[in-house]
């Protein structure tokens, strides 16, 4: 059984994590408590981040950028009216996590810290060029989402560090979308795709989820594709670049072969979905 400690500040939380070797930070609990119940983790201490005001809430900064406190629940992200246009993809991803009840519990910080390759936030955040704010024994720092995932369930977070917030550039008026292929509603992704169109409609940003340890994003290929969105060959070439980055699992949700096959199919179908949004708009 684990002792629950409830620090009131980020500094206290970091100190507690440093003090107890087998302590783990507890965000929403949706994953960590489930793992503990199954005996997969056995923390001596759980550092409850629920009482730290700094970790809550979604704010806009002076430049229009958005800061999402790490303890923001999925339900609040899914309902956040500030996440529009190019950031709508994040809102949509939040709304597809698990189910309504779990979305009342799980937090963005917890999900990102767990770095499950099949979870929904990472591809959406990669598509949004998010930056993570973290705090640890060595102080505070920022990590680009593109440098964050370093292996299977391995991240740039150092021992004792916690995520305090996720920051996003100011939204621009351009359509974005998230599509997840999953066996049933609420399952983790077999494969997913987050995509946002450039404001001028000539290029896109896209990230593929669940096809490698972290989201797949290829900014060079995006540059090559720019201006050629209506050329099906160019789009497939772009998808091939993302597929080349993939290192998919063979698991109960699908084979590696199926996941590779899905990458170009997701890119083309999400692109046409976005194009439709543009026409409607």
């Amino acid at each position: 059984m684990s002792v629950v400690l409830s620090p009131g500040s980020v500094e206290d939380a970091v100190a507690m994590l440093a003090e107890h070797a087998e302590a783990m930070p507890l965000a929403g609990g949706a994953t960590l408590v489930a793992m503990r119940n199954a005996g997969l983790v056995e923390p001596t201490h759980l550092i409850n981040l629920d009482c730290i005001a700094e970790l809550r809430g979604i704010e806009r900064d002076t430049t229009g950028g958005i800061r999402i406190g790490a303890m923001t629940r999925h339900c609040d992200t899914a309902a956040c009216n500030d996440l529009t246009g190019s950031l709508l993809v994040l809102r949509r991803a939040a709304g597809m996590i698990a189910n309504r009840v779990v979305r009342n519990m799980g937090t963005m910080g917890g999900s990102v810290a767990n770095a499950d390759p099949a979870a929904d936030y990472l591809p959406a955040l990669a598509c949004c060029d998010a930056v993570l704010e973290v705090a640890g024994p060595e102080g505070r720092r920022k990590i680009s989402i593109h440098d964050y995932v370093q292996g299977w369930y391995e991240t740039a977070l150092e021992q004792g560090e916690i995520i305090t917030a996720i920051t996003l550039p100011a939204p621009v008026a351009a359509p974005s979308a998230y599509r997840k292929i999953a066996r049933v509603t609420g399952d983790y992704a077999t494969a997913s795709c987050a995509m946002a169109l450039d404001p001028d409609g000539k290029g896109l940003r896209a990230a593929i989820g669940a096809c490698g340890p972290g989201p797949l994003r290829d900014r060079d290929a995006e540059a090559v594709l720019r201006g050629r969105l209506d050329d099906p060959e160019a789009v497939l070439d772009f998808a091939a670049c993302l597929a080349a980055l993939a290192d998919p699992l063979d698991d109960v949700r699908g084979s590696a072969e199926y996941r590779l096959r899905l990458i170009p199919r997701l890119i083309t179908s999400v692109l046409s979905e976005i194009a439709l949004q543009t026409e409607v708009a």
């Binding site: 049933v184 998808a239 699908g254 199926y258």
Partner: protein, 776 residues
């Protein structure tokens, strides 16, 4: 405080009315008590240590550390349970692993401690010395020369039928009528294929559990989640070598079964713990244990060949199945035998041959699951019917109508068919599903038909008229949530012409209830209903005798009137059941009790017609029929199938409670949808790789069609109570077959492997050219 008004009182005429189940009220208020909700004074909690090996000899145990762990009171291992063995068809299973372990997850030891946490902790301190043995992980491996043998003493085990067991062959069954070999020459079209189906987990929302208590004389009382207190009693007593009189089995509310709770799960272990601890012990499985330790639907390999004349008349079918039994026989011989009886479908096929082999493997036992072998062979058979129709230009309805069995025909190997509403089922589905979708787009329609028996084995009912003229009904049938208590009370009330709410249903109790084989095989309404009606009739007859004396007239002049009264025909005077029962209790003749037991005894096999070897069920039952239509969409990106609309028509003889029949059809279809599209237990070597609801997915509310249209067809069966036949399984059987036929329509590709995952369907679309690869 009662928030919800009691159900409207129906006076007489209970049968055919959708009376709400009385247990619904406590369930919506969160007050229903399931096994995990029971507590006893001084009660301990149990936990189980599972085998990490697929096949190993147990050389010994070191319990020292575990016994000294905090809170631990008793530990049970194979050394504590004697040499008794249980099993429905072949007695091959100890209460807990003894001598050997035969699958990963098999219970090896169990601990009783003050708390569940302490019991689980102590389990991890038990040391078991194993000598690993080579394992058998598939039926093919099991049949290979030189394969490791799971049950060295198989020849000595008690078997209730001619199983033909040898080596790892648990049983074999061979059935045939006509002359298949020479019939192929008469066929103008022949289709042939090999099909595989996967293991499906029951996923009753309530995991299995049990609570045992021992009285001062050493007699045990056992509550458990079950589908039959009598099978629990038999299994516990056989495996622990207890006289049956020393064990009383009871049941709280049961959170569904689907076959999972029919034979034993952890009841024998719980009893062994309570006997050793001399205190009450409650053992509740985790979801993971429920996946790994109980049972599942059998994976089948089916080779099937069907031939027809150019006009569509079916001529011959041959079906050969290879069935993974898992480590213990459980209900497997029955499942395989039944699947072979069903492999011809509800068709006239003059030349039919079926054979099967059931092979022990070092995996979780497979056993009874709603459908009982029927969905597996139907997936093959109903696709072949469509393929023949396609080849001959006959639509799916036409080819089925042309060949379907009629009333009075004989089913494969012999049973005579009573009522048969299949034609009406087909009509209902065809009429309702005709034409395009509401938006004008064409349907991707798939059809399958099925039949299923209701019957099998012993049952009974005791109807007692209480002193005030109300009724106590005691049948021993466990209501697992499907509503059999309600249905049986309706039958009883109807026969007695009493208000439904004046019939109380006693909870099953091996001390007081008449024997009931179990809530399985779609049988309770049909078999137990017959007993209930007959027992109620006895009470009516007894009441008539009293009334004749009280009204001083011949019995023949009397009539039973609504509301529990007997009067003289043509006269207003009557006597009430209260008056009659009062007289019987206090003055004349003794209290009114009707009691009826019966066993289904129509033979399955007609030796003049067919050859049958190794038939596990010599007497099966009467036949229900159904037709199922589905309309599907296939996503071009992922290949994933979505069922848009469903038409499910079932001939249940007479719907005693139409709403409950409908819900059986809804629930059965959705469980079948999961089976058809994504549910699959996956093994990585010997290890079950997805024993959790995180990894094993069942349909959610968003994954099922809103438009499930049900059509209850009533072609009364002469032997059924008020004409009723079973409805529990028939809604599931045809789901995978109908969906596969619809997917073939939508994608141009036939599938021979279940489940029809997006991955498989997409591959089929790429092969058939209905979709193209999107690659640079």
């Amino acid at each position: 405080m009662s928030l919800v008004q009691p159900d409207p009182v129906f006076v007489g005429g209970s049968v055919g009315k959708s009376i709400a189940k009385p247990d619904n009220l406590e369930k919506v208020q969160g007050r229903a008590e399931y096994i995990a909700d029971l507590y006893r004074p001084g009660m301990l909690h149990g936990a189980i240590l599972a085998s990490p090996h697929a096949h190993a000899r147990i050389r010994g145990y070191d319990l020292t550390e575990a016994l000294n762990a905090p809170g631990v009171v008793a530990i049970v291992t194979g050394d504590d349970v004697g040499d008794g063995r249980m099993g429905a068809f072949i007695k091959d299973e100890h209460a807990i692993a003894r001598g050997k372990v035969l699958y990963v997850g098999e219970p090896v030891a169990a601990v009783a401690a003050r708390t569940e946490q302490e019991a689980r902790h102590a389990c991890r301190l038990i040391k078991v010395d194993y000598e690993e043995l080579p394992a058998v992980l598939s039926p093919e491996e099991g049949l290979a020369d030189g394969a490791p043998v799971l049950h060295e003493r198989l020849a000595d085990y008690i078997k209730v039928f001619d199983a033909g067991s040898a080596g790892n062959l648990c049983s074999r069954t061979e059935l045939s009528e006509g002359d298949v070999e020479s019939a192929w020459a008469d066929c103008d079209v022949i289709v042939e294929g090999e099909y595989t189906t996967q293991a499906q987990a029951h996923v009753s929302m309530e995991p299995c559990g049990a609570l045992a208590d021992v009285d001062a004389n050493g007699r045990v009382t056992l509550w458990s989640a079950n589908q039959s207190v009598f099978r629990v009693q038999a299994n516990v007593c056989e495996s622990l070598s207890l006289p049956m009189s020393k064990l009383r089995c009871l049941t709280p509310r049961v959170g569904a079964g689907f076959g999972n709770k029919m034979e034993a799960h952890i009841q024998p272990i719980t009893v062994a713990l309570a006997l050793k601890a001399k205190r009450p012990v409650k053992l509740i499985m985790t979801r993971e244990e429920d996946f790994e330790m109980v049972r599942a639907r059998h994976p089948f390999r089916v080779r099937m060949k069907t031939g027809a004349k150019a006009d569509g008349t079916l001529v011959a079918r041959e079906c050969e199945v290879l069935v993974d039994c898992g480590a213990f026989a459980d209900d497997s011989p029955g499942v395989m035998g039944y699947s072979l009886l069903m492999c011809g479908g509800p068709y006239r096929i003059p030349n039919l041959k079926a054979s099967g082999r059931l092979v022990y493997t070092n995996k979780l036992r497979f056993g009874a699951f709603r459908g009982f072998g029927n969905p597996q062979v139907l997936f093959a058979g109903e696709q072949q019917i469509d393929e023949i129709g396609d080849r001959l230009g006959l639509d799916p309805f036409a080819i089925r109508r042309k060949n379907m069995l009629r009333e009075g025909d004989q089913w494969f190997v012999g049973p005579r068919i009573g009522s048969n509403g299949l034609a009406l089922c087909l009509d209902a589905v065809e009429k309702a599903a005709k034409g395009p979708r509401a938006d004008g787009s064409p349907r991707n329609f798939g059809l399958a038909v099925t039949a299923h028996i209701s019957g099998l084995l012993g049952t009974g009912a005791i109807v007692r008229m209480l002193e005030d003229g109300t009724i106590s009904l005691n049948t021993g049938a466990t209501d697992i949530g499907q509503g059999s208590d309600t249905v049986l009370a309706q039958i009883c009330a109807e026969e007695l012409k009493m208000p439904f709410d004046q019939v109380a249903v006693a909870s099953p109790d091996t001390d007081g209830s008449p024997y009931n084989w179990g809530t399985t095989a779609s049988r309770v309404t049909y078999t137990t209903g017959r007993a209930v009606r007959a027992a109620a009739k006895q009470v009516v007859d007894q009441a008539m005798s009293h009334a004749a004396e009280m009204l001083e007239c011949p019995i023949d002049d009397l009539e039973l009137r609504e509301g529990g009264r007997i009067g003289r025909r043509g006269a207003n005077t009557d006597v009430t059941f209260a008056q009659i029962s009062g007289r019987a209790h206090w003055a004349v003749g003794g209290p009114l009790v009707g009691s009826q037991t019966l066993v289904y005894d129509e033979p399955t096999h007609d030796p003049k017609r067919a050859i049958a070897l190794g038939l596990p069920f010599p007497r099966i039952g009467v036949f229900s029929f159904a037709a199922l239509g589905v309309d599907v969409d296939v996503d071009d990106t992922s290949g994933q199938v979505t069922v848009q609309e469903v038409w499910s028509a079932a001939d249940v003889g007479r719907a005693i409670n139409p709403r409950l029949v409908e819900v059986q059809l809804h629930g059965g279809f959705v469980q079948g949808l999961g089976y058809a599209l994504y549910e699959e237990m996956v093994w990585d070597g010997a290890r079950l790789a997805n024993p959790s609801l995180m990894d094993y997915k069942v349909p959610t509310s968003r994954d099922v069609p809103d438009a499930i249209h049900t059509f209850i067809i009533e072609d009364p069966d002469p032997s059924g109570p008020f004409g009723a036949k079973g409805a529990g399984e028939i809604g599931l059987n045809a789901a995978a077959g109908a969906i596969a036929n619809a997917v073939a329509k939508a994608t141009g590709a036939r599938h021979s492997h279940l489940p029809l995952t997006g991955e498989r369907v997409l591959a089929g679309m790429l092969d058939s050219g209905t979709s193209s690869e999107r690659s640079a």
